[in-house]
Amino acid sequence: MEDLAELARIELTGGEKKEILSDMESILGYVKQIEGVKIEDVKTKNELYNVWREDVAEPREFSSELITGQFPATQEGFLKVRKIL
């Protein structure tokens, strides 16, 4: 549970760890039933087609003031975060 919390970047208290662990055991107990499903090779019959558009600039309607206005911390219009390295 500690490893998972670290990977998911979530802090958990001691009580929560126990509680979520027991919840996860019951959920995994339920989903484990798919282990027993026998499947030969699955050939997906999905027809693939290209969904990418041409690489040309297109205008988009969004408000950059609204986006930057919601940053918890800013400096000179930039998003300010804690030191990364």
Binding site: R9, L12, Y30, K45, Q70, P72
Partner: protein, 482 residues
């Protein structure tokens, strides 16, 4: 006084056209009910301040003859659908004050039609739940019995319509989040074909499953809303282009019906509900079958051996997508941020304090099924089972036109129930999962009232892009219920 209980989109539209009431007058009727009932029911988290102004603009469209069928129609909107310059919090503390920077495609379409967006409705946090009890902003109550849940996750949108606080509403489905609350609140709910309605501007939960889905009191109203919103959107890469929609319908119509009225075969997978379905619900289901037989439909037994693993498959695929989608909420960009000594602490504390219990549970579960060593056993296996379920359902539609089950295995349960038992909560959606995993459309229809005055519901599935067939049988069933 406008008779809100029996109002439909077409009646309202005629009322506007004939000058019986204005767009503003209709909205004011709903606002009156909201004032009276919302404190207790908690369907709306916010009534938009500009709703009256929207109604005035809609009225002008009637004056200058540019009105559409949805002009002036009051809509309630689930809190995870972005409406520019309005808050969209997805029922979560981590987005409590998040103001949308752009309109989702569905909102753009509704604005174009002149619909009136009344307010945003309560939901399970990030749409994770089946009872609207995991919202950071309190529970929503069922108008049939306020000691019971309205279903979820789109519980607020369901209650808004069921309690006459909006004429129609939009929710979203990942697995039953519209059909199950429709069942619990006595409404019609449609989960469209995956790729029919744009997901652009919807807070993602499980991208391979999510669909915007309407609620209303009648099949016809759901049909009108669906027809307005169902179109290809280049901004959503999983939105299906129009030519492919038509070819899919043709391919899955091997019997070559010239119109949906010829589709008469209903398949019932009895083996899926041998156990775990409340007796009253089973009884109602059998009565519904009788009604359908009397209306000229043929009932056949079908077997869906892979579909019985649907819910287990879903509870692997969905958390995997959730853990990926919710990684963007890191305390950096969306308002909410917790103090920490270093970057990692800001992440961890923001996510600890910003997410509720169910969201954290699913993120961790998703992290687990995607982690090295477990990926093959869980995620990889689940996507293969999903392909089998899809194949099986598509094959079944070569033999039958509809698949019919109860919508939910139970009638609305008490507030507080199932919160400590996640698997019991997940089982509410056991009949929902096959349609979401395979991408086919499904409609939930009211099928009567229990001895305690609570609604029953049945649901039909049809093949991809065959919503018209669902509307057809839905209307037949409405007639049979009268």
């Amino acid at each position: 006084m406008i008779d809100l209980k029996n109002l439909t989109i077409e009646k309202a539209h005629n009322g506007f056209k004939n000058g019986d009431f204005s767009c503003r007058e209709l909205l004011e009727e709903y606002l009156k009910v909201i004032k009276e009932k919302n404190e207790e029911l908690n369907a709306y988290l916010e009534v938009y301040k500009d709703a009256l102004e929207q109604a005035n603009i809609a009225q002008e469209k009637f004056t200058d003859n540019t009105a559409t069928i949805l002009t002036g129609i009051p809509f309630a909107i689930k809190d995870n659908i972005l409406f520019k310059e309005h808050i969209a919090s997805a029922g979560s503390k981590i987005l409590e004050n998040y103001t949308a920077a752009y309109d989702s495609t569905v909102i753009k379409e509704l604005k174009k039609c002149g619909a009136v967006l009344v307010g945003r409705t309560n939901m399970d946090e990030f749409a994770m739940g089946s009872s609207t009890q995991t919202s950071a902003f309190g529970v929503t109550k069922n108008p049939y019995d306020i000691t019971r849940v309205p279903g979820g996750s789109s519980g607020g949108s369901a209650v808004a319509v069921a309690a006459d606080m909006a004429l129609v509403s939009l929710g979203t489905e990942t697995c039953g989040s519209v059909r199950e609350p429709a069942a619990f609140c006595g409404l019609v709910g449609l989960k469209p074909t995956y790729g029919a309605v744009s997901r652009e501007g919807i807070s993602a939960m499980g991208n391979s499953l999510d669909q915007v889905s309407p609620f209303s009191k009648t099949v016809r109203d759901v049909e009108i809303v669906f027809n307005m919103l169902s179109k290809h959107d280049p901004l959503d890469s999983t939105s299906v282009p129009e030519v492919l929609r038509n070819s899919k319908v043709k391919k899955q119509n091997p019997l070559g019906y010239s119109h949906t009225g010829e589709a008469k075969k209903i398949g019932v997978p009895w083996h899926l509900f041998k156990e775990g379905v409340e007796i009253e619900v089973q009884e109602n289901f059998r009565q519904s079958l009788k009604k359908l037989k009397n209306s000229g439909y043929e009932i056949m037994d079908i077997e869906l051996p892979y579909s019985k693993y649907s819910l287990a498959t879903y509870y692997i695929i969905m958390p995997a997508e959730v853990s990926t989608n919710l990684s963007r909420f890191d305390g950096m960009r969306y308002g909410f941020s917790a103090e920490g000594d270093n970057l990692s602490e800001v992440y961890k504390k923001s996510r600890q304090l910003g997410f509720g219990k169910e969201a954290r549970r699913r993120i961790l579960l998703g992290t687990y099924v995607l982690s090295h060593g477990y990926y093959d056993a869980y995620y990889n296996k689940a996507i293969r089972v999903r392909e089998k379920i899809k194949e099986e359902i598509m094959k079944t539609f070569e033999k039958v036109d509809y698949i019919l089950t109860p919508t939910a295995p139970m009638i609305p349960f008490k507030l507080g129930e199932k919160l400590d038992d996640p698997v019991a909560m997940y089982l509410c959606d056991i009949f929902s999962a096959p349609a979401n995993l395979s991408g086919v459309p499904s409609i939930a229809l009211p099928s009567g009232i229990s001895k305690d005055g609570l609604p029953f519901s049945i649901q039909f599935m049809a093949s991809h892009f065959n919503e018209d067939a669902l509307f057809h049988i839905g209307k037949d069933f409405e007639l049979a219920m009268q």
